[in-house]
Symmetry: none
Subunit: 192 residues, 4 copies
DNA sequence: GATGAATGAGCTTTCATTCAT
DNA sequence: GATGAATGAAAGCTCATTCAT
C-alpha cells in the first residue's frame, strides 16, 4: 500500500523541515512515489500533515502506555516515566517536534484545529499520568494542566538541545536533570 | 529613520509567522514603507531576521538586568526572577518566541549561525543567573547549562499556552506553577 | 512535447534581445506556455540559454556539412562555401547572432563555459574547412585559427548589416564582397 | 568637474558590462560620486550611454587621423592603417566593443538612433580611408561601404579574441593575419 | 489506482529613477 | 550643484495543485 509509504516519508520530511518548508516533491521522492499519488491519497498538503501527525500520535501513546503498565514503587515509577518519555521523544523526534512546536499559521484552519486537538491529546496524556500520581498522593497539589505543559516544555527543550548538539550530553544526563528538577526542584532542601 | 520602523514591523511579523512564512510584503506594509526600502536597509530577508533577533535581545537582557539589581532575601529574589522573566516574555512575546523556537533550516547558514549565537547568549544569561544562586549556596548542585535549558523550555511552553488561550489562566497562575516546580519540584516532601 | 516549442521561442527571443534583456515571461508567451513550464523543462534561464545555443548548433553544422559534400573545382567550391555560410546565417540569424556576439558576463559561469565551447566548435568547423583547402594547396600558408575568426567576424558584421538595413543590399552583394575580399584581398594585383 | 569623472567611469563600466548589465550604482561608485549626481548631469541611463559613446568616438577618430597624416608608399601606408586601427581598438577596447557590438533593443529609441549614427560615423571613417586608396588606384573596384563593414567586423572579432585569450596570440600575429587577408586574400596567387 | 507534465499565483530581489535636503 | 534615502515596477524562480492518460 502506497499510503503507508507516503505517511512514513511525510513524517521524515515534515519533522526535518517543518510544515511550511517541507516540499511535496521531496515527500514524493522519499516515498518513491509520483507526486500525483500524494494527491490521490490525500486531498492536500495540509491534510497529509494532519494525517501524519494524527496517526503518529497513536503509536507514541501506545508505546508509552505499554511501558507504564508496570507496578513499581513510585520513585522508580516516576523516573521510569521520565526516561520513557525522553526515549520516545528521541526515538520519534521527528514527530515529537511537530507535536510540540508546530503551530504556525498558514495551515488550513480546519487542519490547524485538528493539529491542536492532537497536541491537546498529547498534553492530556501527560496530565493523566500526573493525575494518577496525585491521586495516589505522591504529588503536591498543583494545577495539573499547567504542570503537564511545563513538563512537556522541559522535555522538548532538553531533547532539542540533545539532538542539536550530538555528543555534548548523554541521554542519562538529560534524564537526570529532568528527574532532579521535577522531583525536588532547584532549591536546596534547607532553603525553605 | 525608517530602519527602526522596519525592525519593529519585522519583529511583529516574524514572531507571528516565523521566518519562512513571514512575507517581505507584509513587513513593508506593517512598517508603512515601500518594499524596496527593506532592501535598502537590509541586504536580504535573512539579514533582516538576523538584525531583528540580535537587536531585540539587547533590549530584553537590559530589562532583566535592571530588574535584578535589587538585594532581596533569596526566596523572594527567586520568585521575582521567575516573575520578571515571564513578564518579559509576555511583553516581548514576539521576540521571545523567535528566540526560543525558530531554528528551522532554510535560512542562510551564516545567518543561522548568528541566530544560534543569540540563542546561546540568551541561555547563557539564564545560566548565569542560576550560577549566582549556586555560588550563594541556594541551589542544589546541578548541571547549570541543562538546567537553564529546562527553565527556558518551561517558560516558553507555559507562556505560549497562556498567550494562545487568553483568559484561561492568569499570569499569576503561570508564575505560581513555575515557581512551585522550580523551587521544590512536583513530589511531596515526604516522598524522598 | 512543449520542450521543442520552448526552444524555438527561446531562440527567437534570445536572438532578438540577447541573454540579459530576454524575459522569461516573453519566452513563455511566445512559446504559448505557462512560465512554470519553462522551469519544469529547464532549471534556469541560463540553462535554457545553454540548451538553445547547443541544440541549435547541431542543426547548422549538419546543414553546412550536407551542402559541402559536393565535389567541385575549388574556386566554385569556395564561392559555394561562402554562399552557404551566409545563407545559413541569414536563415538562422537568430541563433547565429547569439553564437557570434553573446559573451557578456552575468551568465552562470558553468553555462558561460559551455557557450564558449559551442562558439569554439563553430569556429573549429570553419577552421576545418579552411584546413582542407590548405591541404589541397589552394590556400596560402596562414594561421588557420585566426583566419577562421576573421572570416566569422566578416560574415557576422556583413549579415548584421544586411538584416538591419533591409533592402539596402542584396544577399548577392554580400556574397560578392565577402568572396572578393577573401579570395584576392582588397589590393589591386599589380600593387605588390 | 564631476561630469568628466562620470563619463570616464561610464566608459569603464559600460564597456565591461554592456548597456543593460551596467548598473548606475557601479558607475557612481567608480566615479566616486553620489548616485543622484549622475541624474543631475545626465537625464537618464540612456542619455549617459549616448554621451559616453558620442564623446568617446571624437577621441578615437582624432587619434587615427593624427597617425595617418603621414605620406608613405601605399603598401606601408596600408599596413600602418591596419596596425593603427588595431592598436586603437586594443587601447580603447572598452569603447570599441560598445561601438561595434551594442545594438540590442531596450534602449530609448531616440538614443538608439544616436548610437547608430555614431556607429555609422565610425564606419564612414573607415570607408573614407578605403575611398582614398581607391582614388589613388591602389584598391580594387569594390562596394566601399560593404568593404568597410567587413573590415570592421574582422578587426572586432580578431581583437575580441585577442583580448579574451590573453597570451595566446601577439598583437603582431593579429596585424599580420588581417593585413594578409585584406591585401591579397586567402587564395594562392596561382589559383586565379 | 497511479502518474508526471503542466500550471500560475505568489515569492524574494533588483535597480533606474525621484526628491527633500 | 550635489546628495543618498526611498521608491515600486518588474524580474527570475518556486511549488502546491490539477488533469489527461
Amino acid at each position: 500500500m502506497k499510503r503507508k509509504k507516503i505517511l512514513e516519508a511525510a513524517a521524515i520530511v515534515f519533522s526535518k523541515k517543518g510544515f511550511h518548508q517541507a516540499r511535496m516533491d521531496e515527500i514524493a521522492a522519499v516515498a518513491n512515489v509520483a507526486k500525483g499519488t500524494l494527491y490521490y491519497n490525500f486531498s492536500s498538503k495540509s491534510m497529509l500533515f494532519s494525517a501524519t501527525v494524527t496517526e503518529g500520535l497513536e503509536t507514541i501513546v501506545k508505546q508509552v502506555s505499554e511501558k507504564l503498565d508496570l507496578d513499581l514503587p513510585f520513585s522508580e515509577h516516576f523516573r521510569l516515566l521520565i526516561e520513557t518519555m525522553i526515549s520516545l521523544y528521541l526515538k520519534n523526534s521527528r514527530l515529537a517536534r511537530i507535536l510540540l512546536n508546530e503551530l504556525s499559521s498558514g495551515i488550513d484552519s480546519r487542519v490547524l484545529a485538528e493539529i491542536e486537538t492532537v497536541q491537546e491529546r498529547f498534553l492530556s496524556f501527560i496530565a493523566n499520568l500526573l493525575l494518577k500520581g496525585q491521586e495516589r498522593d505522591y504529588l503536591k497539589p498543583m494545577n495539573i494542566e499547567l504542570a503537564a505543559i511545563a513538563v512537556a516544555g522541559q522535555i522538548n527543550s532538553l531533547c532539542k538541545y540533545h539532538l542539536h548538539n550530538p555528543g555534548k550530553t548523554s541521554k542519562e544526563q538529560i534524564v537526570d536533570t529532568l528527574f532532579s528538577i521535577l522531583s525536588t526542584g532547584l532549591l536546596k532542601p534547607d532553603n525553605t
